[in-house]
């Protein structure tokens, strides 16, 4: 089980729990505002963009090349940007805090 916190653009904080699937799927199941997951998680739409809490960057690790190329053209990109569909929910992510980019 991992507890993950989402901070949305309206300032709300939601804590959700999950053990399988991607972080995007977990967010969509819990109707987290600003995470649409239009492409279902194949790295083609960037509607699952989040900023990782900088202090927890080690937990998630950096994006790979294809994910990075996708983020490069996103207007809200930061040093700590990730596509949440490319992160697997696991114990390792327990306590993670993500700010939704949109």
């Amino acid at each position: 089980m991992a507890k993950i916190t989402f901070i949305t653009s309206d300032g709300n904080t939601t804590i959700v729990e999950g053990s399988t699937g991607s972080v995007m799927e977990l967010a969509v199941q819990n109707k987290i505002k600003g995470i649409d997951g239009d492409c279902g998680g194949v790295c083609s739409c960037a509607t699952c963009h989040v900023h990782v809490n900088p202090e927890q960057w080690d937990k998630t690790g950096a994006p790979d090349e294809l994910e990075n190329d996708m983020l490069e053209f996103d207007d809200n990109v930061s040093e700590y940007s990730r596509l949440s569909c490319q992160m697997k929910v696991s114990e390792d992510l327990d306590g993670l805090i993500l700010t939704v980019a949109k």
């Binding site: 998680g41 790295c43 053209f73």
Partner: protein, 386 residues
Amino acid sequence: MEKSKISDPFKKARLEKGFGKMNDQNDPVTMILGHKDVRKSAHNWKTFQSGGEEVGRIVVPSEVHIRDTRQIPFEVDPPEHKGYRDIVEPWFKRPLEAKYQENLSQIINNVVDEALSKETIEVVEEFALKLQSRALTILLNVPPEKADLWISWGTHVFRSEDTALDSSKANILYDYIDAELDKAIANPGNDLYSVLLASENNGTKLTKEEAKGVMILTFAGGRDTVINAVTNSIAYFAEHPQALERLRDEPEIMNTAIEELIRYFSPLTQMGRVVTEDTQVCEHALKAQSRISMCWASANRDERVFEKANEVVLDRKVNPHVAFGFGTHNCLGATHARQIMRILLTVLTQKVKSMEILDCEENIENLDEFKRKVGFDSIQVKFNKL
């Protein structure tokens, strides 16, 4: 395996130069072919503009001579683009609702049942066009009978046999939309026409001309694209029964399968932009006021991004395709199109054992230097029950 194959005519030019040239009604187009350059150009809306003076010029083949109505939000640049997009976006997300999917499922089950009940069926006109038109009634929230007229227009409502564009045919659609908008003005309802006419952009009501611009785009943008996606899917599964079998056994790969088929088919080959300042791509100089196009179909076969780019890999996990465009103008109808694909594939796995292609006529786009197959003019198929 050959009939369902969609080849990649851009490979050589993409690798050697990164661009191609196409003459279109004496208004040449520089086609951008590489994945990275395509995304970069789509992102750069200041240099590569959609909303210039000459309405219809960003479409290839150009529609400058057949249309004066600006298509919205397609031919509008930021920041105005966002105002329009925000109005229509919630409406075009309705395909995520359960009731919408139920209605769509009913329609798709009906066309599949009909195909199974016949000895053979011509898939473009009798299957894909019907499916697409009836599905559009749900998107517009209009009575299902409205589809009968749209079906009667045939697949060539914007095309004729010899020229790609035919203004008399296009006028059938524009006149129809005018009339439907007048009805909605007189008698507002819960359909997209009425919703558009009642919406406001920065405090002012959308004009009839603006609503018309959205409606034309909704009809035109979602017609050939969906018809090709549906027809090509039937052809693919007819020639790859083991792929249909696999989807039956592993429904969990449905999402990656849909995205992969859409990548492979790339139902919209390219879309243009007007260059606003002297610039260059791939070390090739581009003059202000000239045209470029982003060739989604070529980008989607870029071997630097996609392993086995010319193969359909149904469980391709990372698939940054641009079949629905990229950035600002990404496809507004994608949610609807994806639901159509999801339900179609599901119903095929539930009801169809196999399909056989008996005869077919390919639809080849003539892009000067390149010839690209986008689908079929006709394809006769026998459907076998599960």
